[in-house]
Point group: C2
Chain length 607, copies 2
């Protein structure tokens, strides 16, 4: 999952020339007001008769509300609030320390956030709550939880506050890997058709692995859970009082394909006690994105200050909801949401099996189209890792003297050299590989180091490696009959012009840049407008309310030629290390695990 | 060439426990006084009737004299002096800027140093010059120069002070690579037998490539040079007034094999004007190491304060001269002189062709034995490069707070983790590969990086990579019928106990450590004693005057087991990148060279 606004290797910077050019173009074309606003600007003329919608983006550490004008998508007010308990990954009150790789959240933080950010955003906007006609939300995923039949989270029941398995498991809870391994092994053994829609692998981050972990480790909690639900759907339940299930999380995180979940027989093969999991705890009609889930309950109205009864849209996921925020929705338009990791989402008119994608889901992004999702598990977090661990103090000192963030200094130094000048090539697998190879056991590599190699050169090689990774995903889609016709970018990394230029040069494609700094929240607002009936469907609303600047970065032919050569080297190393010719990365991991397991005594000394 | 004392990744540190243990052992055994002195200690009782010798080590940036007692090798006084002109690699007075990869020296600095360090060392020793019976020197190599028939360097002739090609070319002058390439191509074309004694490649650092460059670029200088001579031999000429040529540089740097230089026909094939190079400018009887070159001239006596007529030994090379300083000379005892690079020198009783060694020379280390030389072109300088370019400021800050050098901190952090715990493996080719593969076009690589990887872990992986490189050299010798029976270490890196322990564990061998911190100068002193007739030969003198502590570091079986696994990964990557399966390193270098050649215009910007 993305943590879109949380950790970014590229702190806030403005791509001013590009933006001004876009403004000039739009002014010349007499286009709609507000469309050329800078990312991050939130202001509009709030007319008396205008209608508004609220989008709420639930991230990893905080929730953000955005008030948006229905007529043109103008962002008129926003507010953010951090969750009181943040990510619960060290210890749980009353229980003590959590094992490694655990990551829980407290659902009370979600509802509390609603009560803070919506009123605050309305105040900032100066909008009368009576003008708001709908609300929609998006969430990290798969963040899923055990609840009673009425939606009460188990962790809120008397006596269960200290039971770790009673809490929502955040997307980045990675302790269910053995369960995911079992899920995959049995699926392949039985030749389950759905497994290939997920690149051959179900992630430990998703619903089934996490539920199976609960059954395995705390069968009582599993039994007491009437329902197993995504936080994306649970929050809607809190707003409209009705359980719903959205097509996006059901498809991408819940293995819902061709109208059904995995069979009882398959589930029984995982664990006989798990046979009824889908029928009993998941099953529920699946709702298309942008549909109306219900009306805002009086309790939710009291909490948020919004009018009772306004439209509440079906739930959604932060990455996927960003697509309509990036303007016109069209098959072949890939939206890359670039943050700590990158999520590539794209609509297609037909079903194709693209090797190593995260998933393909009917209506998973927009109703009526096949939604494709691919991803790179490490992007901004690789840059952040290197910035923190591989850069000598002199550069931090330079950045300090110039009063710029260190990543900006590194970006600039990277951009100052022509492609290929470092003699380096890297593989971007420091956090594993999520698409094409789908292998968390892979790791990063750098080749071409010399005594003249500098830290900014390695940094540049890492930037380029992630761009090569994106190109390989695009080429894999193309080779599978799903051509990418437009490449649009969103997320925190779009603030770095040097990184964007590298992506344009490496992919040989002009980059369209989303016109909003709050892509997910704007996307949610668009869904709210559709749910409220202001637009017939999401594409129609996106056409008006979404914002994209096309051709912001254009590939340079000479640089692209050099990158073609480097990309060929990337692919060669990618295949050598990633497709079995040399399984050194797995062996190193196994050696490491044994070494760490055996640690305790001090390393031996000379005599 | 080694720059033994110049740049070390491991600044002065004492291996105190090992030393004390050695002291205790020697005390128990009633062994000779002085033998257990700490490296770096220079003091002894200067008795009235004792004889002394002086060894002078000419390094890259300075010369060091060491006064040594003949009877037991006690080091009683030392002095160092930096060359006034250091390395002339940027610009030459009167000429202006030098091209890249040039490195010259001023021979007047060498003679000036003699006049400073010898009197100073004698003063420190409190030794009456009349007690000194001989002097010997060792030099960097191949540092070679054009001179007149009387030994006058061309650069000292009127009107030639501004001619770059009139100066000595320091070992690390790398601008003759095209000439080395030609030398190698023609040698293989013609099937010259000698080429295989040099691992199939003559280095651009050696005599022939550098002389061919002079001919190619400044034919007048080439013609005016009556002789082309190693600085190692030229300095002897200055001391005793007679031209001599030592077996070590003639063999390792001058392609002198089986009693002759390369043939006129071969040289003519390089350039018709070069046909007479060996006959005309090199040819001279070759003297065995330890032989008397002559008596100290009155001029040299006046310069140095030593008695006229005392024995001057034949010239020698800093690495090779270190072998007798490390105690008993025996076939199969490999001495690894570990500094910025590592030079592995070893005697064998028979000629064998070991793939990828630097050279095998009859009497190249000790008269009567075949001298084998291998080397790693980057060791301490890889650690120094990473320390300067890859370590974030927090570690420098920690080191500052603790008052220890950063490399020591990194060594300690490296030693604190068990082998394999980092999950990393590296190739130690940041400065190319000098032995086994003999390929300067290779570069470094690191595999296994994750978001949890830290700078000290990468540092450790680089330490280990150089140890794997040494193990591969040892195994290659063994496979070629030249088994290594003892591994002795010398040079600046021996001061780091963590590094030494890694080497013991990786090679599964106990390490013997030289008992002198001035290995080359002590080795020279030993040759001086032999030249003066105090001992019948170098092995006999080494037995008494050399110093070694055996079993200072012993392999730990459990760590060695893990290293066996990692070494297998090293060899796999070594062969993949180094033996042609993926020539990515050469292609990256070519791409880099094109990129840098085309630089000039600014890199393109977004629109």
């Amino acid at each position: 999952m993305l943590a879109l606004t949380k950790v970014s290797a590229a702190p806030a910077r403005e791509a001013a020339p590009a933006r001004e050019a876009a403004r000039a173009r739009e002014a010349a074309a007499g286009s709609r007001a507000g469309a050329a606003r800078a990312p991050g600007e939130v202001r509009g003329s709030v007319g008396g008769g205008d209608s508004y919608v609220v989008g709420v983006d639930f991230g990893t550490l905080s929730a953000r509300a955005l008030v948006v004008r229905v007529s043109d998508g103008a962002e008129v007010g926003t507010a953010v609030s951090e969750y009181r308990h943040g990510v619960i990954d060290r210890s749980l009150a009353g229980h003590g320390e959590l094992p490694p790789d655990w990551a829980l959240q407290d659902p009370a933080d979600y509802t509390a956030a609603l009560g803070v950010v919506i009123p605050a955003a309305l105040r900032e906007a100066g909008v009368d709550p009576g003008q708001v006609i709908g609300i929609a939300t998006d969430f990290t995923a798969s963040t899923c939880m055990p609840v009673l039949a009425d939606g009460t989270p188990l962790c809120q029941l008397p006596g269960l506050a200290a039971r770790p398995h009673a809490y929502p498991k955040l997307w980045k809870h990675h302790a269910a890997q053995p369960h995911a391994d079992l899920i995959n092994a049995v699926a392949h053994e039985r030749g389950e058709k759905w497994i290939n829609r997920y690149g051959g692998k179900i992630s430990s981050e998703w619903q089934f692995a996490k539920a199976l972990q609960v059954l395995d480790e705390d069968a009582e909690m599993y039994q007491r859970a009437d329902r197993w639900i995504e936080a994306a759907d649970w929050i809607i339940w809190q707003l409209c009082g009705t359980e719903t299930r959205n097509a996006c999380t059901a498809g991408y995180k819940g293995i819902y394909q061709d109208g059904s979940y995995p069979s009882r027989e398959y589930l029984a093969a995982l664990d006989p006690r798990f046979a009824g999991f889908a029928d009993g705890k998941l099953a529920h009609p699946i709702s298309p994105l942008g549909a109306r889930a219900g009306g805002l309950t009086s309790a939710a109205a009291a909490l948020t200050g919004l009018p009772e009864g306004i439209a509440v849209a079906i739930g959604n996921v932060d990455a996927h909801v960003t697509v309509p925020a990036a303007g016109p929705v069209a098959p072949g338009k890939m939206v890359a949401i670039m943050g700590t990791s990158t999520c590539h989402v794209m609509n297609g008119t037909a079903l194709a099996e693209v090797p190593g994608m995260c998933g393909v889901v009917d209506g998973g992004i927009v109703a009526g189209l096949w939604g494709y999702e691919a991803g790179q598990s490490g992007v901004g977090d690789i840059f952040a890792w290197f910035t923190a661990n591989g850069v000598p103090g002199e550069f931090a000192e330079q950045a300090r003297r110039r009063g710029v963030p260190l990543p900006q200094l590194l970006d600039e130094k990277a951009a100052a050299e022509p492609p290929g000048a470092s003699g380096l090539i890297a593989l971007d697998w420091e956090n594993g590989n999520r698409s094409v190879l789908v292998d968390a056991g892979l790791s990063g590599a750098i080749v071409g180091l010399t005594l003249a190699t500098t830290a900014p050169e390695i940094y540049r090689a890492l930037l380029e490696a992630t761009a090569f990774g994106t190109r390989l995903i695009i080429e894999t889609f193309k080779a599978s009959g799903v051509p990418v016709t437009e490449l649009a970018v969103a997320g925190g990394l779009t603030k770095s012009a040097p990184i964007m230029q590298i992506y344009a040069d490496v992919t040989r494609r002009p980059l369209s840049v989303i016109g909003s700094a709050q892509g997910p929240a704007l996307g949610s607002a668009i869904h709210a407008a559709v749910a409220a009936g202001a637009y017939p469907d999401v594409p129609a609303a996106a056409q008006v309310m979404g914002r994209i600047e096309t051709d912001v970065y254009r590939p340079d032919a000479a640089r692209a030629d050099v990158y073609d050569e480097l990309y060929a080297e990337y692919v060669r190393l990618h295949d050598y290390f990633g497709r079995g010719a040399n399984q050194v990365m797995y062996r190193l991991r196994a050696i490491r695990d044994r070494a760490l397991a055996g640690r305790g005594g001090p390393a031996g000394e000379a005599r």
